[in-house]
Symmetry: C2
Subunit: 287 residues, 2 copies
Amino acid sequence: MEENTVELSLNQATTRPYPLIATAEAAMQAGIRHIGLWIEPVQEIGIARTRRLLADTGLSVSSVCRAGFLAGKEGAELKEAMDSVRRALDLSHEVGSPMLTLIAGGFPEHDRSIRNAEDRLRARIEELEPHARETGVRLALEPLHPLFVQSRSVVTRIAQAHRVIKDFPAETVGILVDAYATAWDPTFDDDVLAAGPRIAGYQVSDFALPLPIPDNMNGRLFPGDGSLDLGSLTASVRRAGFIGPVEVEIFNEDIWELPLQTIVDRTVDSFARHLTQPLNALERQPV
Amino acid sequence: MEENTVELSLNQATTRPYPLIATAEAAMQAGIRHIGLWIEPVQEIGIARTRRLLADTGLSVSSVCRAGFLAGKEGAELKEAMDSVRRALDLSHEVGSPMLTLIAGGFPEHDRSIRNAEDRLRARIEELEPHARETGVRLALEPLHPLFVQSRSVVTRIAQAHRVIKDFPAETVGILVDAYATAWDPTFDDDVLAAGPRIAGYQVSDFALPLPIPDNMNGRLFPGDGSLDLGSLTASVRRAGFIGPVEVEIFNEDIWELPLQTIVDRTVDSFARHLTQPLNALERQPV
């Protein structure tokens, strides 16, 4: 069925060194219909120019990345982070994004309790939720890989993200599922099913060891180049009810050295071979 | 209370480049009373010499590391791995170890389902359990860091290890909790409490990014040199009922280049400052 076809969205991180305009045009020419924007490149060319670009290329915005880092902050630093999320919600609204990726933040030196950090995060999301409602942009809390629990995100599991946000309205606060960050989770399938309509977005890339230095973040690969079973993971997310565009979001210094056209072509090709085709096969089977 | 004092065990991985005899003698001289042995260095000097060494130094064996890697294997490869676990149980018995560390193994290329891998692992532990009972050595399933889910261990959470082994007798099959591998888990405290008498052993080291290449395994640090709150984590494990010796198990190329005496001294010193002292303070408070 046409309406159930899995659609690719190109997250701008994948083509990070290239200007937004060039990326959007290359995406359009490759037949891509959706884009995940990052805040800084949008600010660089401005909202008006971004909106014209989206209109000209026919690209719809699947997400804006990213704001947050709230759980470990206090005082003036926290106030600035909260204001920054509000501005990011405004920007997301202005470029027509349905959601803003929210990163939890790590914990402060003096309190390394994950539960306490979850409580602070919940209280801060509660303060932000009215602004999400006003702008019509969903806050999408993204569990990161456990590797980054201290430095970037106390939220590392889908079930945990769900527990943190469950008392907020589903239409204003959701979860962004990233396959690279959560595929290791022994209850991935159950957890996405339980999250169901809370799933606001879904990102993929592939995993292999060793992670590179100096930044262990930048070991992500094109679908199919690592060990993840992206067909099965994506089928679970779709069975849970998420049928929006699937973002390919890759952080990788070697890939960033490739020509823009090569990155876009390899994104399209690897997505077709390791997501669209396996999904067509899986979704033709009875569950 | 004297009987509740947290006791240090030196896991041999921490002094990996040095012969077992030198390590045991340095440990004794530093006042250490327990040691975690590795299979290969024991085999190098033989069981009889190891037993004499343990008698001469007064060291008790807290664990033998490690065997397993069962979940992804089949056929002849699996048979060899199973036999290898049985031999390791015999060796553990002969050196007086209460437990053998069991590593789950990753998954094979053709089936990347974690649930299927758990089922295979459970079936294989069931076959091994009678031998554990005969030797009086407990199989201790160790969750590894999610980073190694594909390559080394499909078991990454304490709750998951518990689910895999819960139908086996507690006296023959337990869990080895490693703080480095599981501190990120948002339900660490609840999960160790639920595991309770299943906790067969407990290991510590400290965490920092970036992990080194080429082997991301070898980024472990002395207690206090990273971001883990080892005092709190250890207090939770002790509240769950585990009051055995706490192994310091460090994999780190830089530390392995230090003189043996320096490694042992820094182990003793960091353990006192970041485990014994915080625990004394924590355990004097009402829970």
